[in-house]
C-alpha cells in the first residue's frame, strides 16, 4: 500500500506539490491526469525517493520513504518506475539492460537473471531482440524494454510517467497494450498519462492534478462523465 499524506515539495521558490493526499491499495490502478507542469512527474519521483520532499509523509508498505533511516536502494527494488524519456542503457544489449539490476542489486547469478529477463522480455513482446542494442530499437520497443527492466526486479508497485508521450502515434498502441496487460494481471500501478481512453479503460480511480493540487479524484466514469471541479471540466474539454 502506498500512502501519501500532505506532501509539499518546492523547487527553489516554486511550490510544485501543495499538500497531496492519496492512498493506493494493493492491486489498484490509479491514473493521474493534468496539465503540463502540474506536478505529476514530481510526485512519482518523490514516491520512490529520487526527490526529497519538504513536508508530509510518503509510506510504502509501512516504510516511510523519506525517513533518514530508510535504505532507499532496498525500497526502490519494490517500486518499479518507467519514465517518459526512453532511458535505455545504450552500452548494453537488451538482455544486459534487463539483467544488470537483478545481478548487481539482488546479487542474482547470471543464468537466473537471464531466465527472468527472457520471461519478462517475452512478456512485453521483445523475445526476439535479446542481443540487440537499444539504438536499434524503435521508441516503443525501448519503452517496452524499460518496462521489462523494471519488472525483472519483481516490484510490488509500478509507476509510469507518460510512457507514451514521446512516441510516434503508431507506436503508442503497443506500449499501452503492455500496460493494460499488467493492470489485468493485478499489478499495483500509478500511471501518469495523456491518453484519456486508456485512463478510462484501465483505471480503478483517476486523479486530476492542477497546479500542484489534486483537484479531484474518482472512478473513471465519474471523472470523465461528470467532473466536479471546473478545472477538470476545462482540461477534459481541451484534450478531447
Amino acid at each position: 500500500m502506498i500512502e501519501i499524506h500532505d506532501v509539499h515539495k518546492s523547487f527553489g521558490q516554486l511550490e510544485v506539490l501543495k499538500g497531496i493526499e492519496l492512498t493506493v491499495d494493493k492491486g489498484e490502478v490509479v491514473t493521474i491526469i493534468g496539465g503540463s507542469g502540474s506536478g505529476k512527474s514530481t510526485l512519482l519521483t518523490c514516491i520512490n525517493g529520487l526527490e526529497p520532499i519538504a513536508s508530509g509523509r510518503i509510506v510504502v508498505d509501512g516504510t516511510e520513504v523519506h525517513a533518514k533511516s530508510t535504505d532507499l536502494n532496498r525500497l526502490r527494488r519494490k517500486i518499479g518506475i518507467v519514465f517518459q524519456q526512453w532511458n535505455a542503457f545504450p552500452h548494453l544489449t537488451v538482455l544486459e539492460n534487463v539483467t544488470l539490476a537483478p545481478r548487481k542489486v539482488l546479487g542474482m547469478g547470471k543464468a537466473e537473471a537471464e531466465e527472468i529477463a527472457r520471461t519478462q522480455l517475452a512478456h512485453v513482446g521483445l523475445g526476439d531482440k535479446l542481443a540487440t542494442y537499444p539504438a536499434r530499437l524503435s521508441g516503443g520497443q525501448q519503452q517496452r524494454m524499460a518496462i521489462a527492466r523494471a519488472l525483472a526486479m519483481s516490484p510490488d508497485y509500478m509507476l509510469f510517467d507518460e510512457v507514451t508521450s514521446a512516441l510516434d502515434p503508431q507506436l503508442v498502441g503497443e506500449v499501452l497494450e503492455t500496460l493494460k496487460m499488467l493492470a489485468e494481471e493485478g499489478m499495483t500501478m500509478i500511471c501518469v498519462t495523456h491518453e484519456m481512453a486508456f485512463a478510462r479503460d484501465v483505471s480503478d480511480r483517476v486523479a486530476y492534478f492542477h497546479k500542484g493540487v489534486m483537484a479531484e479524484i474518482g472512478v473513471p466514469d465519474q471523472i470523465f462523465g461528470d467532473p466536479q471541479h471546473p478545472e477538470t471540466r476545462k482540461f477534459l474539454a481541451s484534450v478531447r
Partner: protein, 217 residues
C-alpha cells in the same frame, strides 16, 4: 638527396631519446589520468562552489606555459626545498599534474554527458551511487571522453619536448645534440619530425575512429 654523416650509433642515440620521450609520456599520462579521474569525479560531486579551490589549482597548470612550470618546479624543488630530485622526476611530476588538469576537465565533460534521466533510471532500479558510477556512468562517460583523452595523451607527448630544460634528454634534445655535432639541422629535424608524426598519427586516427564509431549509437 642528403649526404649525411649520421652513423648507426647516432641512430641508436636518437632511439634512446625517443625512448625517453615515450617513458616520460607514459609515466605522466598514467599518473595524470588517475589523478584526473579522481579530480574530475570530485569536481562533479562537490559542485561548482565547493570545488572552486581545486578548480583554481588545476587551472594554473592550463594557464602558465609548460616551460615556465618546469623551470619553476625545478627551481622550487632544488633551490628552495633543497630536495635532490632527478630531472626525470621533476619532469614527470610537472607533466603528471599538467595531464591531470586537462584530464579532470575531460572526465567532468564525460560525466556531464551522461543524461541525468539515464542515471535516475539506474538509481530507481535500486542501484547504489557506486553501482551507478561503475556500471552506467563510467562506461558511457568513457565513450565521450576517450577520443579527447587520446588527444590529450598525444598532446602530452608533443609537449614533453620541453622537458629538456630540466636536463632530460628526450627526442628533440637528442636531435639537438646531434645537430651540434653533425651540423645537419634540416635533415636531423626532419627525422625527428617524422618520428613524432609516426607515433602520433596512428593514435590520432584511432581516436578519430572511436569518435566516429561511438557517435553512431
Amino acid at each position: 638527396m642528403f649526404d649525411t654523416a649520421l652513423s648507426s650509433a647516432d641512430l641508436i642515440f636518437l632511439a634512446k631519446g625517443a625512448g625517453m620521450t615515450i617513458v616520460v609520456t607514459a609515466i605522466s599520462v598514467a599518473i595524470g589520468t588517475v589523478l584526473g579521474i579522481v579530480f574530475g569525479v570530485i569536481r562533479v560531486q562537490l559542485g561548482t562552489v565547493y570545488a572552486a579551490p581545486l578548480t583554481f589549482f588545476l587551472d594554473i597548470f592550463r594557464s602558465v606555459p609548460l616551460l615556465i612550470q618546469l623551470v619553476l618546479a625545478n627551481a622550487f624543488m632544488g633551490m628552495v626545498l633543497r630536495l635532490q630530485f632527478s630531472g626525470l622526476t621533476v619532469a614527470c611530476m610537472v607533466l603528471s599534474l599538467y595531464t591531470a588538469a586537462y584530464c579532470a576537465e575531460i572526465v567532468r565533460g564525460g560525466i556531464d554527458a551522461v543524461p541525468t534521466t539515464t542515471r535516475r533510471a539506474a538509481r530507481s532500479l535500486g542501484m547504489t551511487w557506486g553501482q551507478d558510477m561503475r556500471h552506467i556512468v563510467l562506461p558511457l562517460a568513457t565513450r565521450v571522453a576517450l577520443p579527447s583523452w587520446i588527444g590529450l595523451a598525444l598532446g602530452v607527448m608533443k609537449d614533453s619536448a620541453l622537458v629538456y630544460v630540466v636536463q632530460v634528454t628526450e627526442l628533440l634534445k637528442s636531435t639537438q645534440i646531434l645537430i651540434t655535432r653533425l651540423q645537419e639541422p634540416m635533415f636531423l629535424l626532419l627525422i625527428c619530425g617524422v618520428f613524432y608524426f609516426v607515433i602520433s598519427f596512428p593514435l590520432a586516427r584511432f581516436g578519430g575512429y572511436l569518435e566516429k564509431r561511438w557517435s553512431n549509437d
